[in-house]
């Protein structure tokens, strides 16, 4: 059991520990809650307008993704938090990250719409976005036909 204290209680969709032992959880309110080892919320970070769906800590950075199709990159050091960058994926239905990985300034995202996206040099001014894979993401995939080294599929997602 944890104590929210002054922070408004809400459901949590994701959580991650950092190297110093702090726990970060992403709430439906769009806040990131910072938990101490006494299971108390010591701080909240206003990062998103919609529920936080995924969060990861890597190489001193806290990266969170939200249903507002934005990704926040936050530097954490000794209890101080600095928002480095907000990456906007461009709002589209179900185009929000469900899983995130970060390594050496590169982001790998698994999106709710079945796509896998890579953003290289995310903290630089010129970042490079590439979609590695597309997929159907709602209902079932029924139709499949192959021609000329290409294939076409039809699914329950319009």
């Amino acid at each position: 059991m944890g104590i929210f204290g002054k922070a408004a209680a809400c459901k949590h969709l994701c959580a991650v520990f950092d190297e110093e032992g702090w726990l970060y959880s992403g709430g439906e309110s769009g806040l990131i809650y910072v938990w101490s080892d006494k299971c108390e919320v010591v701080k909240t970070i206003k990062a998103h307008a919609e529920p936080v769906t995924s969060i990861i800590y890597s190489q001193g950075k806290l990266i969170s993704g939200s249903k507002d199709s934005k990704i926040a990159v936050i530097t954490c050091a000794g209890g101080n938090f600095k928002l480095d960058k907000i990456v906007d994926l461009g709002y589209m239905a179900l185009k929000y990250p469900r899983s995130i990985d970060f390594f050496n300034n590169n982001l790998l995202l698994g999106l709710r719409n079945g796509s896998i996206m890579e953003i290289k040099n995310v903290l630089d001014e010129k970042s490079e976005t590439k979609i590695l894979m597309h997929s159907h993401y709602e209902g079932e995939t029924w139709g499949l036909t192959v021609f000329e080294n290409k294939f076409v599929t039809s699914g329950g997602d319009n």
Binding site: H134, E138, G139, W142, G143, F151, V152, S154, G156, D157
Partner: protein, 162 residues
């Protein structure tokens, strides 16, 4: 549409922009679908000669699209009364066969200008059509149905062979 080597998406299209009010077609085992039946694709087939792609929805309608622009509709084939599980162009690409869950197979003739007309209907199956394919000379089709029957139809005679 995907490239088979790199698996990259080449282009995509929307099956329907309208929302059907009728709740027809129950093709899915997954409950709580977010899309209505007319937005759920069930079968696709491609004709390179005509540069056409046909996509059958869970609503019974088969929509013929341009292969170059998947959102460009060429014709809607609305003969099937229930949803269609399989569609295939004949090897010579002069015919299109659609197997539906109303137990019928619909054969469409395609003229040189790419216009579709209903050529015949095969009503021999006692259950829904699950799969169909063409003979290499485009004169026969065979079908599988929900009663586990394997039936053969002659296109020239417009009749059931066995």
């Amino acid at each position: 549409m995907f490239d088979a080597d790199s698996h990259e998406l080449i282009r995509s299209g929307t099956i329907s922009k309208n929302v059907s009010k009728k709740k027809e077609g129950d093709a899915t085992t997954a409950k709580g679908d977010k899309y209505p039946p007319n937005k759920q694709g069930r079968a696709v087939a491609v004709s390179l000669k005509h540069q056409h792609l046909v996509v059958c929805s869970n609503f019974g309608k088969a929509s013929v699209r341009s292969l170059v622009d998947l959102d460009k509709k060429i014709i809607s084939l609305k003969n099937a009364k229930e949803w269609s599980q399989c569609a295939a162009y004949s090897p010579d690409e002069t015919m299109l066969a659609i197997g539906s869950h109303d137990n019928h197979v619909y054969i469409y003739k395609i003229d040189d200008e790419g216009k579709y007309s209903l050529y015949c209907q095969f009503k021999g199956s006692s259950s829904f059509i699950t799969a169909l394919d063409w003979s290499a000379d485009s004169k026969f089709i065979r079908t599988n149905d929900g009663a586990h029957e394997l039936l053969f139809f002659s296109i020239e005679d417009k009749s059931q062979d066995t």
